[in-house]
């Protein structure tokens, strides 16, 4: 009953069922092996030797270059500063059809459910971290229908609890069987229509977005999905799709027409990466007009309790409209004197947006990013003439390119450079050295990654 013997007569004794998805696939060299082994086949052909015949050990350098390439693909400096949509209103559409019950890859038994749960939770956290002034809602589609689970809200906690409820539902108290949350066919048109009607009431300064996490190969729609795509395009809603299964024409047309992005995940990590890329603000379309946004900045109320729970000064009890809880301390809207326990929110009485200055400050790094650093050493096999070309497109307007090229030339012979951020000595062999074009200080690869992804400040330019 077992499978016929494979090429080199290795029997898979663990295979109990004919229909079981095979663990082993044919590797690049023709032997059976796991998929992850593919990246190590033929590693000997990548070794090089220098003039004396010794093998050059530049694995470390290659790893650093790879790390850096991932970073620079995300940030590019162009001549004009691209305007970004900072105040975003996004609907996350999840495809919970039968496709989500499939396993992730043919040699992993994990199903797409857990991958989706983890990736979407991380995405929600990252989204609210990068865009504190934005709001997010949740729509799911299964069995041919689409359902709005959560309206647009600025609260991270409610999104996370809803996601947990879907993917990992707590057992009900009574003995009723819980309805199966996954299954059926997804419907792109229905979910787009729901999102569209919900996004109609958004003011014009906000950037309207939809991100679909899709895991099927088809869509089951009541009408013509192309008219819906045209409707999205006319209302300037930016739709993007991140797919766990193969590429689909409908998704491609949708994302292309509405200026969104379409990504197909190769494996779990790439799905997460593709999804997290949407946490960064997108460039705005020309249709969006600028407008004022009346916002409010509220002082922290005097009667807030300190960390130990001991109230300072007076003790005043508040009753909050939304939760009807009694709590000491909170925020007061300056126009209608309504009480709120958390910021940022929208005042329910007078419709004023309530924020505090750290929320605005969190978005400043999107508007004033750090310029990418340039490599001091020219890549191997490049002559001096074309070496300067690697600076094209990486420097902001106004930097003296010739001076930088000269500086790099001087520094590349120097073996005593230390990283300005962490004081590590970066030897000339085998490691990348990076230069900030404004303050002319040298940094190592780890500091470069840290500065551009997390810190958003160059320590030398301050």
């Amino acid at each position: 009953m077992s499978e016929p013997a494979q090429k080199n007569n290795v029997m898979d004794i663990d295979a109990e069922d004919d229909n079981e998805i095979p663990d082993h696939v044919h590797g690049a060299s023709g032997d059976t092996g796991y998929v992850w082994e593919g990246q190590f086949t033929g590693a000997w052909s990548m070794l090089d030797d220098n003039q004396e015949g010794q093998i050059i050990n530049d694995l470390q350098l290659k790893e650093q270059v790879r790390k850096r390439q991932r970073l620079t693909s995300m940030t590019t400096v162009t001549d004009s500063i691209v305007r970004k949509g900072i105040i975003r209103f996004m609907y996350l559409i999840l495809d919970l059809s039968a496709g989500v019950l499939q396993p992730v890859a043919h040699d992993l038994k994990q199903s797409r459910v857990s991958v989706m749960h983890e990736a979407t939770s991380d995405f929600v956290k990252e989204f609210f971290d990068q865009n504190p002034l934005s709001q997010m809602g949740l729509i799911v589609t299964r069995r041919g229908l689409a359902e709005k689970i959560l309206e647009l809200t600025g609260g991270q906690k409610s999104m996370l609890t809803e996601l947990k409820e879907i993917f990992d539902p707590s057992p009900r108290a009574d003995d009723e069987p819980t309805p199966d949350p996954f299954g059926g066919d997804p419907s792109i048109q229905n979910s787009l229509l729901i999102a569209h009607s919900a996004l109609q009431s958004i003011p014009q300064y906000g950037s309207r977005e939809i991100v679909i996490a899709y895991s099927s190969l088809s869509t089951c729609d009541p009408g013509d999905v192309m008219t819906t795509i045209q409707l999205m395009k006319d209302s300037s809603v930016r739709c993007s799709v991140v797919a766990l299964d193969a590429e689909m024409y409908v998704c491609k047309k949708l994302s292309h027409d509405t200026n969104g992005t379409y990504g197909v995940a190769l494996h779990q990590e790439s799905f997460k990466e593709l999804l997290l890329a949407h946490a960064l603000p997108p460039p705005t379309t020309t249709k969006q007009k600028n407008a004022f946004n009346i916002t409010l900045i509220i002082p922290l109320d005097e009667t807030s309790t300190n960390k130990n729970g001991i109230p300072s000064k007076k003790i005043r009890q508040f009753i909050f409209n939304i939760h009807s809880e009694i709590k000491a301390g909170g925020y007061i809207c300056p126009r209608c004197k309504c009480k709120y326990c958390d910021l940022p929110t929208e005042c329910t009485v007078c419709n004023l947006t309530l924020v505090s200055s750290p929320h605005l400050a969190r978005s400043y790094h999107h508007l004033f990013p750090v310029a990418p650093f340039v490599e001091i050493d020219a890549p191997k096999g490049v002559d001096a003439r074309t070496a300067g070309q690697r600076f094209d497109g990486t420097m902001s307007v106004g930097t003296d390119v010739n001076r930088i090229i000269e500086l790099c030339g001087n520094m590349s012979k120097d073996n005593t450079l230390c990283c300005f951020g962490c004081l590590k000595h970066i030897p000339r062999e085998n490691s990348l050295r990076l230069l900030c074009t404004r303050c002319e200080k040298v940094f190592c690869v780890e500091c470069d990654g840290f500065i551009h992804q997390s810190l958003h400040n160059c320590p030398g330019c301050e």
């Binding site: 600028n290 946004n293 009346i294 002082p299 004081l423 500091c447 810190l455 958003h456 160059c458 301050e462």
Partner: protein
């Protein structure tokens, strides 16, 4: 019950913890020099300034505090950064002019040479973690580097104020490196203690906020000790957001008492000690033009600049704003067209 579970957990987990404290010293020569000259003036003005200490007294307090900190636990580590007007500078561990000293260079003590070697190669950061820091070496290095810092000062740049944001960013890069290279199985608890005498510079607001959010993500607390006469709203926000302590001592000549009772407490033990709290933190932003603190304001949707009055175009990024609904309903007067008189009616357009 003094031996409840929380205390026991805090004490036990301290065994595998390494504490790292990065001290940021504000070395603005203009302000410290002015204090010294004011102190030397023989007038009644001097009485008012009696509580402001000068730099050598300040350094004495700080070094005494450092000795106590290093003695309290053999695993405590420390680093010093000077926030100078031109740029920030690492006082300890130190590399001379950012370049590796040649092997033949002579140094005053062998301890310094060891430390230089330690910092540079990543294999030997293990020594930084495993070896105890010698206070004498530290004191000599810090004093020597401070002398060099003050003699290098360029007079023109001094009045700009010190680069606290730069020093803080460098501290975070250093902590990031040590987190990556620490010995397996240890946890590194890091905090930053900043001393400030210069006033806040509004240009540095964005940089300081970026650094604060990054510190919050890395679980680094920022404590601040203000030795200037005014409060610093940037450091108030920084300490609040990262969960640190903000202190403005009333009597600066007793600074060592404040340091030994408040700033020497480890992160894990802070829940057990009653530390000074901030009564009100002023989170209100200031209008970008009038610099007044505002409650209710307008924000440009493109560049997030804050204004306290309705405007027709943003002064930071230059975009023109669209007509609001308020104009249509008459709540705000419409923009007067050139050549015609401004209308006063409240009718909708």
């Amino acid at each position: 019950n003094p031996f409840d579970k929380k205390t026991r957990l805090a004490v036990e987990s301290a065994r595998e913890n390494i504490q790292l404290l990065v001290v940021l010293l504000d070395t603005n020569p203009y302000i410290w020099g002015k204090r010294r000259s004011d102190q030397n003036q023989p007038s009644s003005y001097k009485q008012n300034l009696k509580t402001l200490i000068n730099f050598s007294q300040f350094l004495n307090h700080v070094l005494l505090f450092t000795n106590a900190y290093l003695s309290s636990n053999s695993k405590n580590k420390i680093a010093f950064i000077a926030a100078h007007p031109k740029e920030s500078k690492f006082l300890f561990p130190h590399t001379s002019t950012d370049r590796v000293q040649s092997e033949n260079a002579t140094t005053t003590t062998t301890g310094e040479q060891d430390l230089l070697r330690i910092v540079r190669s990543d294999k030997a950061t293990e020594e930084f973690f495993l070896k105890e820091i010698n206070f004498n070496t530290l004191r000599n290095t810090v004093i020597k580097q401070l002398e060099e810092t003050f003699t290098e000062t360029d007079d023109e740049l001094v009045v700009k104020g010190s680069s606290l944001a730069g020093a803080f960013s460098r501290a975070l890069c250093f902590i990031n490196r040590l987190e990556r290279e620490k010995p397996i199985g240890t946890t590194l608890n890091s905090r930053v203690l900043a001393f400030q005498v210069s006033p806040d510079i509004s240009m540095q607001y964005i940089s300081i906020m970026n650094a604060i959010f990054s510190a919050q993500k890395m679980n680094v607390t920022l404590d601040s000790c203000i030795l200037s006469t005014e409060d610093s709203s940037f450091l108030q926000q920084a300490s609040y957001i990262t969960g640190g302590v903000y202190l403005k001592p009333l009597k600066q000549e007793g600074l060592i008492q404040y340091l030994l009772s408040v700033f020497i407490v480890d992160k894990s033990l802070r829940g057990l000690v009653q530390l000074p709290v901030q009564a009100t933190i002023d989170f209100r932003a200031a209008c970008f033009e009038t610099k007044k603190q505002i409650d209710l304001g307008y924000v440009c949707s493109v560049c997030l600049s804050i204004f306290d009055q309705h405007k027709w175009s943003c002064s930071t990024c230059g975009v023109k704003f669209e007509v609001l609904q308020q104009v249509r309903t008459g709540a705000i007067q419409p923009k007067p067209k050139p050549g015609s008189q401004p209308t006063n009616n409240t009718q909708s357009k």
